[in-house]
C-alpha cells in the first residue's frame, strides 16, 4: 500500500521539477501568449478563432521572418472560457520570453473583468477586439485596455440603425417592440444600458430576455417571444446558445429575417446546426465578413502549402477564422509601431502599449497587408482606445453569408456620455487618477 504512496510522491516531485524549470530563454523573439478554448461548451466558436490567430503569427514568421526580424514566439493555454483558468493561464504566461508577454487577448468578457486590474499593475496591454468592457474605450481611465474596432455599446447602436433602415427611418421605431435574447453573464448584459438609452430616445419598447448558461434550453423564452410578438429580436449569445436560439425560433415559426445577432452570434457554427431553417438570419459584422481576401493567398502559400496550418484548408474563409487573423494583425502592427520608437528588438508590454495607443492604419497600409475589403482605416488615440466604430450586416442564405448593408458607424454622441459616466465610476471605485489625454499626444 505504501508503495502506491511512494510512487505518487515521486511522480509529483518529478512533475514539480519539470514544471518550474525555466524554459530556455530565447534571445531575439517577441513572446505573445494565446489564451484560447478548444474544449467545453464554447469550443465551437473558440477553436476557429484561435486557428486564425495561430496561422497569422506563423505567416509573419514564415513570410516576413518575424516583425522587422524579431520572430514571434507563442504559447497557447486552454482556458475553457472559465475565469479562474483564464487567470491561471495569464499568470503562467505573462512573464515568459525575453521581455514577457507583449499583450493579452483573453477572448472572454469574464476573464477581461478579472484581468483588468492585474494587467494594469503588470503593465501588459489587454486587447479585447469587439468585446470586453464597453467603458474601457476611455483610455484616460483604462490605460491598458484596448476594445479595438468596436464595443458592445457601438454594436447596440449599429443594430438599432439597421432596424431603423429596414423600417424606413428612425421615426418608424416609435411604438415598435424590440427584444434582446442575451447570454446571462457580463458579456450578455453589457449592451443593455445602451439599448435602454436608445429605447428612450426613439420610443421603442425594449424587453431583455435572459438565457441561463449554457443556453441549452430556450423553449419557454421562445414561447414568450411567440406570445409577445416583438418586431425584432436581437441575439447576444455565445457557444451552443446561438444555434439553439435559431432552432427554437424555427420551432415557434418566428421569422428568421427579424433576428439580428451581434458579431459574436453570426458565424458558421451558429447557423450550420439549424440547416436550412437558419436561412434569412442576420448578424452584425465586426467590419469584415466571411470569404477570401488577398492575405488568404499568402496563408495558403506560406502555411497550408507547407502543411503547417492549424485547421482544414476549406475552413480558412470562415467569419471567426478571419476575425482571429484581424486580431493577430492589429497586435503585430502595434508591435511594429512600437519598434519604430523603441528599436527593432523584443519589447516589453509597456512599450507595446505605446504602440497600440498610437496605432494608425491607413487604407494604403491595409491594402499592403492584404486586408483591403475587410477593414476600414483604424486610428487609436489616448482618449479613444476603440479606434473605429464601423459595422455592416450580413445575412445567411442557407449556404453562405451575404453582406446586405453598406458601411455605417455607431453614433458617438449617444455612446460618449455613457462611457464617461461609467468609467468615472470605475475610476472613483479603484482610486485611479484619469490621465490627461490632451497633454499626452
Amino acid at each position: 500500500m505504501a508503495s502506491i504512496a511512494r510512487n505518487v510522491l515521486m511522480l509529483a516531485a518529478a512533475l514539480a521539477a519539470a514544471a518550474l524549470s525555466a524554459p530556455a530563454a530565447a534571445q531575439n523573439e517577441q513572446f505573445i501568449p494565446i489564451l484560447s478554448y478548444r474544449t467545453g461548451p464554447y469550443a465551437v466558436n473558440g477553436a476557429p478563432y484561435a486557428n486564425g490567430v495561430v496561422d497569422y503569427y506563423n505567416l509573419i514568421n514564415e513570410r516576413d521572418g518575424g516583425i522587422n526580424g524579431v520572430k514571434i514566439l507563442t504559447e497557447e493555454c486552454e482556458t475553457g472560457y472559465a475565469t479562474d483558468k483564464g487567470v491561471e493561464c495569464y499568470e503562467r504566461l505573462k512573464s515568459k520570453g525575453p521581455t514577457g508577454a507583449a499583450f493579452i487577448n483573453p477572448l472572454s468578457t469574464g476573464i477581461t473583468f478579472a484581468l483588468t486590474e492585474k494587467t494594469a499593475t503588470d503593465k501588459i496591454p489587454i486587447i479585447t477586439m469587439g468585446y470586453g468592457r464597453a467603458d474601457s474605450k476611455n483610455g484616460a481611465v483604462f490605460a491598458y485596455n484596448f476594445p479595438l474596432l468596436g464595443t458592445y455599446w457601438s454594436a447596440a447602436d449599429l443594430a438599432i440603425q439597421q432596424i431603423a433602415k429596414e423600417l424606413g427611418g428612425f421615426d418608424k421605431l416609435k411604438g415598435r417592440k424590440i427584444s434582446l435574447l442575451y447570454h446571462d453573464s457580463p458579456y450578455g448584459k453589457e449592451p443593455i444600458p445602451m439599448l435602454q438609452v436608445l429605447a428612450q430616445k426613439y420610443g421603442f419598447e425594449f424587453t431583455p430576455i435572459p438565457v441561463t448558461h449554457p443556453g441549452v434550453e430556450q423553449k419557454s423564452q421562445w414561447l414568450a417571444i411567440r406570445q409577445n410578438r416583438p418586431d425584432y429580436v436581437l441575439v447576444w449569445g455565445w457557444g451552443v446558445m446561438n444555434s439553439t436560439a435559431i432552432k427554437e425560433a424555427a420551432a415557434v415559426a418566428y421569422p428568421r429575417d427579424k433576428m439580428i445577432g451581434v458579431w459574436w452570434s453570426g458565424a458558421e457554427p451558429d447557423v450550420t446546426p439549424a440547416g436550412d431553417q437558419a436561412t434569412g438570419y442576420k448578424a452584425l459584422m465586426l467590419q469584415h465578413g466571411a470569404g477570401k481576401f488577398p492575405v488568404h493567398a499568402d496563408i495558403e502559400k506560406y502555411i497550408y502549402a507547407k502543411g503547417k496550418g492549424s485547421t482544414e484548408p476549406g475552413k480558412i474563409d470562415e467569419v471567426l477564422y478571419n476575425r482571429g487573423m484581424v486580431n493577430a494583425m492589429l497586435g503585430v502592427e502595434a508591435i511594429r509601431k512600437a519598434q519604430e520608437k523603441f528599436g527593432k528588438k523584443p519589447l516589453t508590454g509597456e512599450q507595446v502599449r505605446w504602440g497600440l495607443e498610437n496605432l494608425i492604419l491607413t487604407d494604403a497600409r491595409i491594402k499592403e497587408l492584404g486586408f483591403e475589403g475587410m477593414l476600414k482605416p483604424v486610428s487609436i488615440s489616448c482618449s479613444d482606445h476603440e479606434g473605429a466604430r464601423y459595422g455592416r450586416v450580413q445575412q445567411w442564405n442557407g449556404k453562405a453569408w451575404k453582406v446586405i448593408s453598406d458601411w455605417s458607424t455607431a453614433d458617438e454622441s449617444l455612446i460618449e456620455p455613457l462611457v464617461a459616466d461609467v468609467s468615472a465610476k470605475y475610476a472613483a471605485e479603484k482610486k485611479i487618477k484619469p490621465r490627461d489625454c490632451a497633454k499626452e499626444t
Partner: protein, 375 residues
C-alpha cells in the same frame, strides 16, 4: 525506524488528547508551518528559484489555500456529519457578495415602513467575517430539509440552493450595486491600515486565515460537537437515543461549514480574483469541492488540504508538462488527455483506497513504524 513512537508516554489526558500526540508528527507540522510562514515569503521577496515569477504564488499557492479552507468547510458537512452537499459554490457566493455589500455600504429601502436601513461601509476584515456569518444563516436555512431528507436526495436539495443563488446574484442588481455588466470589483484590502496588494502580502493574509480557521475546525471536530456530528453520520437513530438532538447537530454542522465556506468565498473574490461574476461560484465549484473532500479523505481535516492540492495542481501539471517537454500536441489533445488522465486517476485512487489520501497516509505511517521489517 523513522516513526518509532515507543517511549513517548502520555502522563496527562491533555497530552493524550493533543492534535498530534506523536513527536514526529509535531516536528513535521512545525517544519511545514516554518516553511509556510517564513520560507515562502523570504524566497518570494528575493525572487529566488521557484518564485522567480510570482506565478507559483498567484496561480497555485493562493487558490490552494483558499480552496483548502473551503474544502475543510465542506468536509465538516460531508465528511463529519454525513450530509452530502452540492451547494458549497452557492455558500461561497453568499460569503463573497454579502462581504462586498457590507464593505461598500448596505442600503435597504423599506418603502412601506417609511425608512431605510443604511449600514456604513465596514472595514474589510469585519465584512469578510460577517459575510461568513450570512453564509452560515443561509446554510441553516438550507439545512432544514436535511432533517427529513437523507442521502443522495439531500444532494439535490442543496443543488436547489446552488441554482437559486446563482440566479439571485445574476438577476437582482441590488447585490451588485446596480453595476451595468453585473461584474463587481473587490474593495481596497486594508487591514488596520496595512494595504494588502502584492502577491506575498495576499499569500500571508490567506495563510493566516486558513491556519486559524483550520485549528478552530480541528478543535470543534475533536470536541463534543464533532462527536455528535460523527454519531449522526454513522447511525442517527442510535445518536438520537443517547440524547443527541438531530436538529441541533445537523444545523450546527451546516452553520459551521457554511461559515468557513463563506469566508473562503469572500477571500476567493477579494484576494484572488479581484473582480468576479457569479459564474466563478457555479455548480462546477461545488463539484470541485466535493471531489477534494472525497479524494482527500472524508472526515479528515488534513485530508481536505491534500485533496485540495491534488484537484487544483494535477490539471495544471497535466497542462504544463506537455508544453514544458515540448511534445508536439495541440492544446486540444492536451486538454482531452488531461480529462482522461484526471478521470482515470480519480477512479484508480478510489479503487486503491476508498477513504482517500488521508487513509493512504495513515497506512504509510503504519508501514514506517515497521520499516524495514515486513510485519
Amino acid at each position: 525506524m523513522l516513526y518509532r513512537e515507543a517511549g513517548q508516554f502520555k502522563a496527562t489526558y491533555a497530552e493524550d488528547m493533543a492534535i498530534f500526540p506523536i513527536r514526529q508528527d509535531r516536528i513535521a507540522l512545525a517544519v511545514l508551518l516554518g516553511i509556510a510562514f517564513i520560507g515562502v515569503p523570504l524566497l518570494a521577496s528575493f525572487r529566488i528559484w521557484p518564485f522567480r515569477t510570482d506565478y507559483l504564488l498567484w496561480a497555485i499557492l493562493l487558490p490552494f489555500l483558499i480552496l483548502a479552507l473551503a474544502a475543510v468547510g465542506t468536509n465538516i458537512l460531508v465528511g463529519y456529519c454525513g450530509q452530502i452537499s452540492l451547494g458549497s459554490g452557492a455558500f461561497m457566493a453568499i460569503g463573497a457578495y454579502s462581504a462586498y455589500k457590507l464593505a461598500t455600504g448596505v442600503h435597504i429601502p423599506l418603502a412601506w415602513l417609511g425608512f431605510a436601513i443604511a449600514i456604513p461601509p465596514l472595514p474589510v476584515l469585519a465584512s469578510i467575517l460577517l459575510g461568513g456569518l450570512m453564509a452560515a444563516c443561509a446554510g441553516i436555512l438550507f439545512g432544514i430539509p436535511s432533517l427529513r431528507i437523507k442521502g443522495l436526495y439531500l444532494a439535490v436539495a442543496t443543488l436547489a440552493a446552488q441554482f437559486f443563488f446563482d440566479w439571485a446574484f445574476l438577476r437582482l442588481p441590488w447585490f451588485t450595486n446596480y453595476a451595468p455588466s453585473g461584474s463587481v470589483n473587490a474593495p481596497e484590502l486594508d487591514f488596520f491600515g496595512m494595504i494588502v496588494r502584492t502577491p506575498v502580502e495576499r499569500y500571508l493574509l490567506c495563510l493566516l486565515f486558513v491556519t486559524v480557521m483550520a485549528v478552530l475546525a480541528k478543535n470543534l471536530v475533536r470536541g463534543n460537537l464533532g462527536r455528535q456530528w460523527m454519531a449522526i453520520r454513522d447511525m442517527d437513530i442510535a445518536a438520537e437515543l443517547i440524547g443527541i438532538r438531530p436538529l441541533y447537530a445537523k444545523l450546527t454542522a451546516f452553520a459551521v461549514s457554511s461559515f468557513i465556506i463563506g469566508v473562503a468565498g469572500a477571500l476567493w473574490a477579494f484576494v484572488y480574483l479581484g473582480s468576479w461574476e457569479p459564474l466563478a461560484f457555479s455548480i462546477d465549484r461545488s463539484l470541485e469541492l466535493l471531489f477534494m473532500v472525497i479524494i482527500g479523505g472524508l472526515g479528515s481535516i488534513m485530508g481536505s488540504f491534500i485533496g485540495a492540492a491534488f484537484i487544483l495542481i494535477m490539471p495544471i501539471m497535466l497542462n504544463v508538462i506537455p508544453t514544458e517537454l515540448g511534445l508536439p500536441l495541440s492544446t486540444q489533445t492536451i486538454t482531452h488527455l488531461q480529462f482522461i488522465i484526471f478521470g482515470s486517476l480519480i477512479c484508480y485512487l478510489l479503487i486503491k483506497e476508498p477513504h482517500g489520501f488521508a487513509r493512504l497516509i495513515s497506512i504509510g505511517k503504519e508501514k514506517l513504524r515497521l520499516w524495514p521489517f515486513p510485519y
